[in-house]
Each structure stands twice: as structure tokens, then as C-alpha cells.
């Protein structure tokens, strides 16, 4: 049971993020929700690579000796970096949008932005 705990926590984090996106009225909180959900996915991606007792992919105690069976999977680490960078771009863009929206409306509350209803 304990072995599954990190995955369950990951799911909880993801659900918190989705909950924030769906239920919050404040733009900043929605953006935070997206960030939290994104980090839950990134965390999950890192945990996929995990191997009990594994070590860094290129590291081996004796030079020249390669032991793939005790190494953690390095590919998800590279992937997670990429996905963090993409997340950075999305977040920066959405924060810039939020600032511009605040400039137009003077509020972060999405229920007061009614330009597009109907």
C-alpha cells in the first residue's frame, strides 16, 4: 500500500488543480490551478522513471562499467524539463494576459467580465 502513496498524492494534487480551475472565480487562482495540475503531471512523469534503489543514469562506481539494470530511466527526466519549460511559457503568457485584463477591468473576478456572454 505504501508503495502507491506517492501516486495517490500525485492524483490528489492533480484533482486540487482541476478543482481550482473549475470552481475559482479569480483569474490568478485559475492560473495557480493550472500550475498545480501541471506540476502534478510533471511529478508523475518523474515517478514513472523511478526504480527502487536506482542511481543516476550515467553514474557507475567503477569507470567504464555500465549497469543499466540499476539505473533509473533517464528519458522522463529530459521530458519533464521540456514540459516545465512549456509550462513556463504558458504561465508567463497567462500572467501577462491577467495583468492586461486587470488593466481593462480593474478586477480579477471573471464573473465581472461579461464581454463574451451569449
Amino acid at each position: 500500500m505504501n508503495a502507491y502513496m506517492p501516486y495517490v498524492l500525485c492524483l490528489v494534487l492533480f484533482c486540487i488543480g482541476i478543482f481550482a480551475i473549475l470552481s475559482k472565480k479569480n483569474i490568478i487562482k485559475i492560473i495557480l490551478g493550472i500550475i498545480i495540475a501541471e506540476y502534478a503531471v510533471n511529478l508523475f512523469l518523474v515517478m514513472v522513471a523511478y526504480k527502487a534503489g536506482g542511481r543516476a543514469a550515467i553514474f557507475s562506481p567503477n569507470r567504464g562499467e555500465i549497469l543499466p539494470e540499476v539505473m533509473v530511466d533517464p528519458l522522463p527526466h529530459a521530458l519533464v524539463l521540456t514540459s516545465i519549460v512549456i509550462g513556463l511559457a504558458t504561465t508567463a503568457f497567462m500572467i501577462a494576459l491577467a495583468i492586461r485584463l486587470y488593466g481593462k477591468y480593474g478586477t480579477f473576478d471573471i464573473t465581472r467580465m461579461r464581454e463574451l456572454r451569449g
Binding site: 501541471e38 512523469l45 521530458l79 521540456t82 514540459s83 512549456i86 503568457f93 463574451l116
Partner: protein, 497 residues
């Protein structure tokens, strides 16, 4: 000369154009020229792959030389770019539309400041779309989807008014959710198969009985790509985002972006990687039927011309998905053919609505009328697009809808066929609202002083209208063999990644 090493240029050239446009932003006309040249190059390259190779030939290139090695049991370790019949078909459509949209934009974007930003984002979006099409690697596909999406979020907000910012925020939140779900699905697939290459993934998955995990992945992917393709329960962002963008971008978004990011990816992954399981077929048919209905019915009561066209896009994507959902060779062919036609007529109609807005300054159809007399080229081309959308016989849209409905009848989906036919009648109704209120009838006094749009805009309108009129020729055996059939063959399992 055919060289598979040229495949990466589909991404590299628009990307280089994007950054060169950012570098030479002070020289006013250079970004315009770069935008046109980069999309012209991509289009010529895709034509070259269509015309100069055997139909259905498939090319693959391993980025950085990281192919398959015996140490990893013959699996591909790096990113493999693949170009087969389906890819080439989509590349030709995307780059054709991009070429004429960029030529149109040279005239249209004169009103805006910061044109270099427009071209940088436009070319980034093009690079992202081309990347989605040529990649054979799941995670790489996610990255390219994100490049194209983020560029399109920014392009939707290009006008920085209240409407644009709100639409862009909505689009960014929903698009971000979609990307998260896609990434989650990719992670699950990697965890269960140990590879990211689509071809290897198919081989690993085909031997096994699908577990619950794979069904979870189906759900995640359908939701994610459904959000990108704006299928109905997930469509809320599209009617806001597409009208808010500048007209060339509306044309790109509705014409090709939702297809490259949503429809193409659904077809590629579910047909090519998962072998089109029965459950997915049913889900696609249901989503398609709802999309067709909701899109068409809501479009009926729109007065904003671009918003009407945006709802119509939802409905037409439903038709494409119906063809894919049927899953027979005829259905897939109809879907691909309708995809081609929809790209042509919807980008044409959005460009025409942009031309109307350029001249009259309004998008509200109540304030228009009789525009045909003052703007004969815009009016005539829009009429061609509208006829194709409505499915009036000699125009291309008729043939593709006919193929889809016949395929539905052949596959014993009688109710769906009837539903599709009914919705195409409703399509005719809302299309005639555009032509009647905007282009025909009495000219309003307020609009007496309007002029026809500049030459470059007219040229692209005419070319796209020709594509709408002559699009039916794609069904001729000689053209079909070269263009349409290889794509169908890839999807129904004769050849592939």
C-alpha cells in the same frame, strides 16, 4: 531528387523565418516577405513530396542519427520524423492555406502595429503544425502541439481589446487543460509500453489484450484532442477565440489549426497506433452527431458573421469526425476529402469576412447589405465558399458530404446518415443568411462609400475560391491516386508509420 533529409525543413524553415522576422523587425517589409517566403517554401516542399514520389511512399528520418540499435532490441531511441501519405496530404493542405493567408495578411495587417510580432507568431504556429504532422514520436508531438497552441493563444489576443483578451484567456485555460490531459496520456503510454515512438508503440500494443490503463488513455486522449478539435462538449472556447483573432488568423485557426492539432492527431493515434478499437468508433460517432447538431443549430441564430462561421466550424468538424468514426475506407476517404474542402472554404469565408470588416468596419450582418455591388470580388468568392459549405452540387463541399453520407448508409448507420443530411439542410439555411444579409439585397446608405479590398487580398480570395470550385476534381481517379488514396491507405492499415 527525393531526399528524406529534407523532412526536417518543414519545421526548420518556418522557425528560421519566425526568428529572422523578430531580428529584422525594424525593416518594415522584411517580416512580410519572410512570412510569405517561408510558407511558400513549405508548400513547394510538400508539393514536391506529392508529385515527385511514388504515391504512398513513406519516408523516415532519425533526428541526430539516433535510430534503432540492437542494444535496445531494435526500438527507436531518438525522435523519428515520418512522412507518409496521410502526412503529405495534411502538409499540402496546411501549407497551401498558410501561403494564401500570409499573402492576404500582407494587405490586411497594414492596420495593425507590431506586424513583425504577427509574422513571428504566425510562423511559429506554422512550424508547430508542420511539426505535429511530421513527427512520429508521442512526446515530440506534444511539444509541437504546445508550440502551435501557445502561438495561437497569443495571436487570438493580438488586438488587445477586452474581447480579445478574454477570449484568449478562455482559450489558454482550456487549451492548457487539453495539453495536460494529452501529456498525462503520453506518460501513461510510456509507462506501459516503454517507448515513445508511434511505430514501436503500435507493435507492442497490437500483441496484447487492452488493459484498463489503455482505456483510461483513450479517455484522456479523446478529451484532450477533442478540446483541441472543439468537438461539442469541449467546444466552449472556439466561438470566442476564432472571431476575436485578426481575420488571417481566424482563417488559419478554423481552417487548419483545429485539424492539425485535433483531427489529425485523433486519426493518427487511434487509427495508426491503436488500430481503431470499436469503443472509440462509437464515442467518435456520438461526439460527431452532437457536434454537427449543436454547431449548426447555434449558428442559425448568430448575427456576428465570424461567430456564425466559428459555430459552423464546430458543425463541419462533426462531419469529418463522422467519417472517421464510421471507419470504413469510404468513410475515411469522405472524412479526409471533407477535411480538405473545409480547410478551403472555411479559410476563404473567414478571409472574406475579414475583407468585409476591412472595408465596412463591422461584423454585424444586420448592418450590411448589398455588398456585392461595391465589392464584387469579395462577394463572388464568398458566394463560392458559401455554396461549397452549403453543399450545392457542382461545388466541392457537396461531393465530400455525399461521400460521408453514402459511407454512413453503407455501414448501416441509417439514423446518422439521416441526421447528417438534415444538418446539411440547416447548413444551407445559415449559409444563405450570410449571402442574403451581407452580400445581396439593398445597399445601406451608410456603406455607400466603401471600396474593394487591396490586390493581394483579392488574389488570395480568388485562389481559395478556385480551390472550392475545383476541389471536386480531387475525386477524379488520377488525382485521387496521388493525393487522397495514399492517406486513406495509411489510416485503414495498409502501410503506416
Amino acid at each position: 531528387m527525393i531526399n528524406e533529409g529534407m523532412i526536417p525543413l518543414f519545421v526548420a524553415v518556418p522557425l528560421a523565418g519566425a526568428f529572422l522576422a523578430a531580428l529584422f523587425k525594424r525593416l518594415g517589409w522584411i517580416p512580410d516577405l519572410l512570412g510569405v517566403l517561408a510558407s511558400l517554401f513549405s508548400f513547394c516542399l510538400s508539393l514536391h513530396f506529392i508529385l515527385d514520389t511514388a504515391p504512398g511512399a513513406s519516408f523516415a528520418v532519425n533526428v541526430g542519427g539516433w535510430g534503432s540499435f540492437p542494444e535496445v532490441m531494435g526500438k527507436v531511441v531518438g525522435i523519428r520524423l515520418v512522412l507518409d501519405g496521410f502526412t503529405v496530404f495534411m502538409l499540402a493542405i496546411v501549407n497551401f492555406v498558410a501561403l494564401w493567408v500570409s499573402i492576404y495578411a500582407v494587405g490586411y495587417m497594414k492596420r495593425y502595429t507590431g506586424r513583425w510580432q504577427f509574422y513571428t507568431l504566425f510562423l511559429l504556429m506554422l512550424a508547430g503544425m508542420n511539426g505535429v504532422l511530421i513527427t512520429g514520436d508521442m512526446f515530440n508531438m506534444y511539444v509541437f502541439i504546445e508550440i502551435a497552441s501557445i502561438a495561437s493563444y497569443a495571436l487570438v489576443a493580438f488586438g488587445v481589446g477586452k474581447r480579445e483578451l478574454e477570449a484568449s484567456f478562455k482559450y489558454a485555460v482550456m487549451g492548457g487543460m487539453a495539453s495536460l490531459l494529452i501529456l498525462l496520456a503520453v506518460v501513461f503510454l510510456y509507462a506501459s509500453t516503454g517507448t515513445l515512438n508511434m511505430g514501436d508503440m503500435r507493435e507492442i500494443l497490437s500483441g496484447t489484450h487492452y488493459s484498463g490503463l489503455v482505456y483510461l488513455v483513450f479517455g484522456l486522449l479523446l478529451t484532450g484532442f477533442g478540446l483541441k478539435a472543439a468537438l461539442v462538449p469541449f467546444h466552449a472556447w472556439l466561438p470566442d477565440a476564432h472571431p476575436s483573432a485578426p481575420a488571417p488568423i481566424s482563417a488559419m485557426l478554423s481552417g487548419v489549426l483545429i485539424k492539425a492539432l485535433g483531427v489529425y492527431t485523433i486519426a493518427r493515434i487511434f487509427f495508426d497506433v491503436f488500430g481503431f478499437p470499436h469503443q472509440v468508433s462509437i464515442i467518435l460517432l456520438v461526439l460527431a452527431a452532437i457536434s454537427m447538431g449543436v454547431g449548426a443549430l447555434v449558428a442559425l441564430r448568430q448575427w456576428d458573421m465570424k461567430r456564425l462561421l466559428a459555430y459552423s466550424s464546430i458543425s463541419q468538424v462533426g462531419y469529418i469526425m463522422l467519417g472517421f468514426g464510421i471507419g470504413t475506407p469510404l468513410g475515411v476517404m469522405g472524412a479526409l476529402f471533407h477535411l480538405f474542402n473545409h480547410s478551403m472554404f472555411k479559410s476563404l469565408l473567414f478571409l472574406a469576412s475579414g475583407a468585409v470588416e476591412y472595408s465596412t468596419g463591422t461584423r454585424n450582418m444586420k448592418e450590411m447589405g448589398g455588398l456585392n455591388r461595391k465589392m464584387p470580388v469579395t462577394g463572388g468568392t464568398a458566394l463560392a465558399g458559401a455554396m461549397s459549405l452549403a453543399g450545392i452540387p457542382p461545388f466541392a463541399g457537396f461531393w465530400s458530404k455525399l461521400v460521408i453520407i453514402v459511407a454512413a448508409v453503407q455501414a448501416h448507420h441509417m439514423k446518422l446518415a439521416a441526421w447528417a443530411a438534415l444538418m446539411s439542410i440547416i447548413t444551407i439555411v445559415y449559409v444563405f443568411r450570410i449571402t442574403r444579409y451581407a452580400f445581396l439585397g439593398e445597399l445601406k446608405e451608410k456603406l455607400a462609400g466603401i471600396k474593394e479590398v487591396p490586390l493581394l487580398m483579392r488574389v488570395s480570395l480568388i485562389i481559395l475560391a478556385l480551390a472550392c470550385i475545383l476541389g471536386g476534381l480531387v475525386l477524379l481517379p488520377q488525382v485521387r491516386k496521388m493525393f487522397l488514396s495514399p492517406a486513406v491507405r495509411v489510416l485503414i492499415g495498409m502501410g503506416g508509420v
